[in-house]
Structures are given as C-alpha cells and as structure tokens.
C-alpha cells in the first residue's frame, strides 16, 4: 500500500518569496486544489516591491540581465517534469514548454541589443551631439490569458524584464498552477526579489486596480478579453498609462515585444571647445 502523496500548496510569488494571500482567501480549481485568491492589497504589495526592486535591476548591465534570463531557462529545463502535469501532460505540454524556453533564450540574447535596435544617433541641423536611447519604462503589469496558461506569460515576462523593468503578473484564473509554478524557476534562476511577481485570483477583482494603479507604468493586456481590455484601458487613462492591446494569437518573437515596454529618451549636448 503506497502512502498518500505529499501535495504542494500553491502560493503566490511575491517580493521573492512564496506566500499566501494576505486576505487568507483561496479558491478551488480543477483537481481539488486550493489556490490563493490575491486581494487588491496583495497587488499593491507586489507593485510596491516591484518599484523598490526596479532601479537596481535596471542598473545592472544588460549582459548580466541576459545571463539571469538564460539561467531561468536552465532552471525551467531541469524542472520540466514538474510542469508537465499542470500543463496537461503529453506532447502539447512538452511543446508549450519548448516554446517557453525559446522565449527565455530569445530575450536573454536580446537584453544587450535593444539599445542598438531601438536607439539612434540623430543628425540634427546644428552643432549638437544628439542621441536617442530606449530605457526601461519602470513597473509593468501583465494580464496573462486563461489559456495557454504558461507561454504568453513567459514571453511577456521575459520581454518586459530583459530591458530592466519589474513586472507584476496576474496569472490565468482558471488554470493558475503553471503560472504560479514559474515562480520557482524565477527564484532558482536568481531573479532578484521583487523584479517579478505572480498573482492568482479573480480577474474581475484585480483588473480594475491593475488599470488604475498610479505606480504601474504600462499594462500588457495580452490575455484580456475585449471587455476586460476596455474597462482596464478606461481605468488606465487617468494616469496616462500605456496599455498594450490583447494579442489575438501567439505572435512571432521579435525585439519589438521588448522595445514596446521601454521609453525613448533623447539627449542633446552642444559640440564646441
């Protein structure tokens, strides 16, 4: 007779640690598993941690950020086994994991190319040295789609953090386990605490605050329904927040995905003796 298995309690990934919702609430998903139901306060804590962590993460060299992303890919590769079952198992799960690794590796190698791809030295009509550089925008919030539960989340996360942003993600509500599990790869990959947060919960409860939070600089609404997007974008207007629209299907990997989470800065200086 085999003993009952040791089940893992799903937890939020918040400020580099695994925690229950401060509200103490859970909701049940398929398989009789209780998942934390994050509150507005959890979201606020995640944004505050992201804001604290972002300057140091943004100040690391792009080379270093690229290596951290690559390390996360290594950790996911070694942890393949534990993702298989939450992703539904079989070839579909393996394919989704492969593509997650593609995304991480792509943006690991993009981190130190973005300034050259998005920036420029500008020939202005006067004696000035003039250049434009993309910079991380700051704190990005991401709303992951319900399905697929992992790939768009990983792509969005890698695209946002490779340039030096911090990210707060709301994972799939109906299929939250793969998203929450990702936290272990992030922690094992030495992503600094606060740079990414993973929250499970009711979207209807969290999304209005994602839109209106004044310390969120950009929302990637990749996983929103049309109605969720409209409501979120309306709430975002009061802080002139950038909102990236829902993506209809998985799009090809391009540096543009990272560049659109960045701000362009133009610097002028006179040339003279």
């Amino acid at each position: 007779m085999t003993p009952p298995s040791v089940a893992k309690t799903p937890k939020l990934y918040l400020d580099g640690a695994f925690s229950r919702s401060e509200s103490g609430r859970v909701y049940e998903v398929a398989g009789m598993i209780n998942v934390p139901r994050a509150s507005r306060k959890d979201l606020r804590d995640a944004v505050a941690a992201a804001r604290r962590a972002q300057p140091a993460w943004g100040a690391r060299t792009a080379y270093n950020r690229g290596q951290v992303l690559y390390r996360i890919a290594e950790m996911m590769e070694t942890g393949r086994g534990q993702f298989a079952s939450p992703l539904g198992g079989g070839r579909a799960a393996a394919r989704q994991l492969d593509r997650c690794l593609d995304s991480l590796v792509f943006f690991a190698g993009a981190a130190d190319k973005l300034v050259q791809l998005g920036g420029s030295v500008n020939s202005v009509a006067g004696p000035y040295f003039n250049f434009t550089v993309p910079e991380p925008i700051g704190v990005v919030a991401l709303v992951a789609p319900q399905k697929p539960a992992l790939l768009p989340l990983v792509t969005g996360l890698a695209a946002a953090v490779c340039s030096g942003n911090a990210l707060v993600a709301v994972v799939s509500e109906i299929d939250p386990l793969p998203g929450l599990l990702l936290g272990e790869s992030l922690q094992n990959g030495d992503l600094p605490p606060g740079v990414a947060a993973l929250l499970s919960g009711f979207r209807s409860e969290l999304l209005p605050w994602v839109g209106s939070h004044r310390d969120v600089d950009l929302v990637d609404a990749c996983g929103c329904t049309s109605d969720e997007w409209t409501e979120l974008a309306r709430a975002a207007a009061d802080s002139v927040k950038r909102v990236l629209p829902p993506t209809p299907r998985s799009s090809p990997l391009t540096p543009e995905l990272a560049l659109r989470c960045m701000e362009l800065k133009t610097v002028w200086h006179p040339v003279g003796v």
Partner: protein, 511 residues
C-alpha cells in the same frame, strides 16, 4: 480622383536661408548703461498679407461652407481686434472630411513612396517661399514675437516636411518589409502655442507613411493651418489627402469618436489627453499623446553661469512660456543660488515685452483671455501660498492680453506653482544641495516631458541624463528641436514620439 503620375519638380526661384535662433551670446551689460540705449520700434510689415474675411473648411481639396453654417472670429491677442471669421465644423462636416480622407487613402497609400516624397518636398519649399507671410500671420493670430515665428516656427515647419519627405521612399529600409503598412485616416488635433509647427509635426510623418489626415487646429489659432490648405493646393497635393476642419472642443470630440478614424494624434493639455484616452479605450484606434510638462531645469555650481542664465531665460520665457517642455521648475545648487539669481533677475529685467510684430520684442502677447486668467490664478496662488514674487518694472500695453515675466523664490515643492503646469512666463525657483537631491526633486512630478541640466562635468551630465525621467534631456542647452530628434513624454506627459525614425513607427501598423 487622385493623379497617380509622378509629380514634377518645379524649379524654385531662391533658397531662403534659415538660421537657428541665437541662444547664447549676450555680454553682461550694466543695467544703467542699457537703460540709456535708444530703442525705437522696428515693426514687421503686414501689408503683403491678405487675409480673407471668412474661411470655410478645407475638405477634399477645396474650401467649403460648413453644413453647420456657423462661424466664429479669431482675434489678434495683442490688440483684441478680429482678424477673420472661421467656420465651426459640426458632425456632418466631420463625417464628410473623414469620408473624403478615407477615399483618398486608397490611392495615396498605394502611391510609390518616391511620389509621396515629391509632394512633401514641394510643401517644404512652398512653406519656405511663403515664410514671411506665414510668420506674420502666426504672430498676428497667436501673439508670439515675430522674431520667434520668423526664425523658429516657420523654418522648422519647413524642415519637418523636408525631413519626412526623404523617409517616404525609405520605409522599407527602416521597417521589416511586408510587416508594416499605413493605418488609414488619422485625426490630428493640435494646440495654439506653435500652430504651423505642430501641424507640420503631425502632417509630415502621417503623409510620408501613406496615411491621410483630418486635422483640427486650435480654435484661437486657425489661420496658418488655413494658409497651409492653400499651400496644399499650390503643391497640387491630391484632393482629400489633407483636410482641415476648424472648430472648438466639440468638433474635436466628434472627430476623435468618428468610427472612420484609425488613429488619433493629440497635442495639448493633459486633462484633454486623458479624456481622449478614456474615450478611445478598447476601440482599437491607435493613439499618441503629447501633453503637458513641468520640466526641472537643474543648474549645478560648476555651470557656466552666463550661458546657464541665457538657457534658463530661453527655457521659460520663449513663446511667453506657452511651451509644453518649458523649463518651468528651476533647481539651482544652493552654493550658487545667490549670484545666479542676481544675474537672472538682471537679465529678466532687460526682456522687452510688447508688440509681437516688433522685431525687438522678446515677450509677446498671451494667447487668449482664458490663458491669461489661468496664469493669473496660478500666480495668485503662489503669492497666497507664501512664495516670494519678483516682477521687473515692465510696461504692459492697455489693450490685449499681457503678463509680465515673473520669478518666484521661497517655493516649496508642495506649492501649486511648483506642481501644476502654468503655461506662462512664470518661473518658480527651488534649491538643492546634492546631485541625488536634484534628481529626486526633479523627478517629483507626474509629468515627464523634458529636463535641463547645466554643468561642466561630463560624467555628471551623463549621470543626470540617465536619471531624469523625461523624454528629452537638454544638457548645457535648452529648447532645441529637430525633425531627426524624437520628441515626446514619459508618464503623464503622454506617449508616442514625433521626429526621427522612431516617430514614424507611430504612424505605421507593425505586424
């Protein structure tokens, strides 16, 4: 119908030389000596300018009467005298403008880039040819000094068309082939502070990338946009590619909500920008916003003081301070605050306020009565909240809208004058001790359009430029603009860029 044959290059009689406005260069002169200098008015002639009594809407290549049948007059803010009557477009007029632009789009967007370029080059040359007329009308309608409209607004507007003309046939080299396309009809709403220049920032990139345009100029400064319509006629630009509808906020609201519009580009106040963003939420329309600012202008103790004084004066008093990127929060390092402020006051005391048509004038008229009231209210709040006001002795004309250059010291970061955009010739001054404090104070705002830094230490310039949260950083200079240099804001100063290859992306569908 749009003519698909390539436009010809018509020879132009002369090249108008453009020179950048001088920013530096004045030697310090003792005030007494200067006061004794004889000073006679040098008025720009206006007799070569023929304004019509009444302007219709420019739709489909011709001026047409508004279906609304309503007009309003636009006045000279320096005299309060009416200049012309301008149509007020209603929803039927906007419908027609969008429909005409949509039908022109199918042909215009398929023209070879080189052909679109030819039209834009023609427009650039026509602006140069008619620059004197445009400068005078800009000054009459908006109140800005003729020196600025002549040396800054109009030449730079022409340069924007020239620059973007050259992009029209090179988009394949800048953006992945087959993965980009024009958007369609673009609605553009521009402000009253740089009327023709803002028009050129909007129309030139939109046309270069193959879009068609319905543009609404500001209600107090519509005239140069209407002259631009005539330039489109002279350039033989295909009908419907550029449409100009005049009107107030109601007209703008109808335009941005119009279902035929694929993108909205707005430059103006943050309050209106937020409202547009709210209205467009979830619509799928593209949006770019260039909104307000409250730029920190930081002067370190090792800065070249005379140059920094010129830069600070240029930063806040250029165009009466009606500049979204104006250096409207001066941060001076404590150790030099006293000598710096002494020089600054002396320099401000020498600014000449008066007739905008006078070539000597530094500060012209405030654009409108409403704006004058806004400035006055904020200045009163500054006094009420306990800041110390300084205004040099300054004669204000009896008619028209005027505001004397104003400096506030003893300002707290919590004062309204330190937080809100004044959009007038008013400079609040604060001090700081360390570079880290300058960054913290400088970034303590919801805005993020521009910042200025004055220091001779190279590493500090780069350190500051990295840390200022703004879309533009001017180091040892201020208020420089160029079509090749992307311009736009962080945070509540808006999103999207204008200028450079980066600015083109905002007018393209990137798949």
């Amino acid at each position: 119908m749009v003519d698909t044959s390539p436009p010809t290059i018509s020879p132009r009689r002369e090249v108008i030389k453009q020179e950048a406005p001088a920013v530096f260069g004045e030697e310090p002169v003792e005030p007494m000596e200067l006061d004794r200098l004889p000073y006679a008015p040098a008025l720009e002639a206006t007799d070569h300018v023929q304004l019509q009594q009444r302007y219709g809407l420019f739709i489909g290549g011709a001026f047409t009467k508004p279906k609304s049948n309503s007009y309003r007059s636009t006045i000279n803010p320096a005299t309060e005298e009416p200049l012309a009557e301008v149509a007020e477009a209603g929803s039927l007029d906007v419908d027609r403008a969008v429909a005409v632009a949509a039908s022109a789009f199918s042909t215009w967007s398929r023209l070879p880039g080189a052909h679109r370029a030819r039209y834009l080059f023609r427009i650039a040359r026509l602006i140069q040819e008619r620059s004197k007329e445009l400068a005078v009308v800009e000054t009459l309608d908006g109140g800005k000094p003729i020196r600025e409209s002549r040396d800054f607004d109009i030449p730079l507007a022409a340069q924007h068309f020239f620059y973007h003309a050259g992009w029209a046939d090179k988009l394949d080299f800048a953006f992945p082939k087959g993965r980009r396309g024009p958007l369609g009809v673009v609605a553009q709403i521009i402000p009253w502070n740089f009327p023709l220049l803002m028009l050129s920032w909007k129309i030139a990139p939109a046309l270069a990338t193959g879009n068609t345009v319905v543009l609404k100029p500001a209600e107090t400064t519509p005239l140069t946009a209407l002259l631009f319509a005539d330039i489109c006629r002279q350039a033989e630009l295909p009908d419907g590619v550029v449409n100009i509808v005049t009107g107030g906020p109601k007209c703008g609201s109808i335009l941005v909500r119009h279902p035929g519009v694929r993108k909205v580009a707005f430059t103006g106040s943050t309050a209106v920008g937020k409202e547009i963003q709210r209205v467009l939420a979830g619509s799928g329309k593209h949006l770019s916003l260039e909104l307000g600012g409250k730029a920190a202008h930081v002067v370190f103790d090792d800065a070249p003081l005379d140059q920094a004084v010129e830069g600070v004066v240029n930063g806040i008093f250029f165009n009466q301070g009606h500049v979204c990127c104006a250096g409207s929060r001066l941060l001076v390092q404590e150790s030099i605050a006293e000598p710096f402020m002494r020089r600054l006051r002396r320099r401000v005391g020498r600014l000449r306020l008066g007739d905008p048509l006078d070539k000597n004038t530094d500060i012209g008229a405030i654009n409108s009565r409403e704006q004058l009231q806004r400035i006055s209210a904020l200045v009163e709040s500054g006094v009420a909240e306990g800041a110390h006001i300084y205004q040099p002795p300054c004669h204000l004309p009896e008619r028209g809208f005027w505001f004397a250059p104003t400096i506030f010291t003893e300002v707290s970061p919590a004062h309204r004058i330190a937080r809100e955009e004044i959009f007038g010739p008013v400079l609040p001054v604060m001090t700081f001790r360390t570079a880290a404090e300058a960054v913290a104070r400088g970034n303590n705002t919801r805005y993020g359009l521009s910042a200025g830094v004055w220091t001779t230490k190279g590493s500090r310039i780069l350190w500051m430029a990295e840390r200022m949260r703004s879309g533009v950083v001017w180091a040892n200079t201020y208020n420089q603009f160029d079509p090749a240099a992307p311009f736009g804001g962080f945070r509540e100063s808006g999103f999207g860029r204008e200028g450079g290859v980066q600015g083109l992306a905002d007018y393209l569908e990137l798949k």
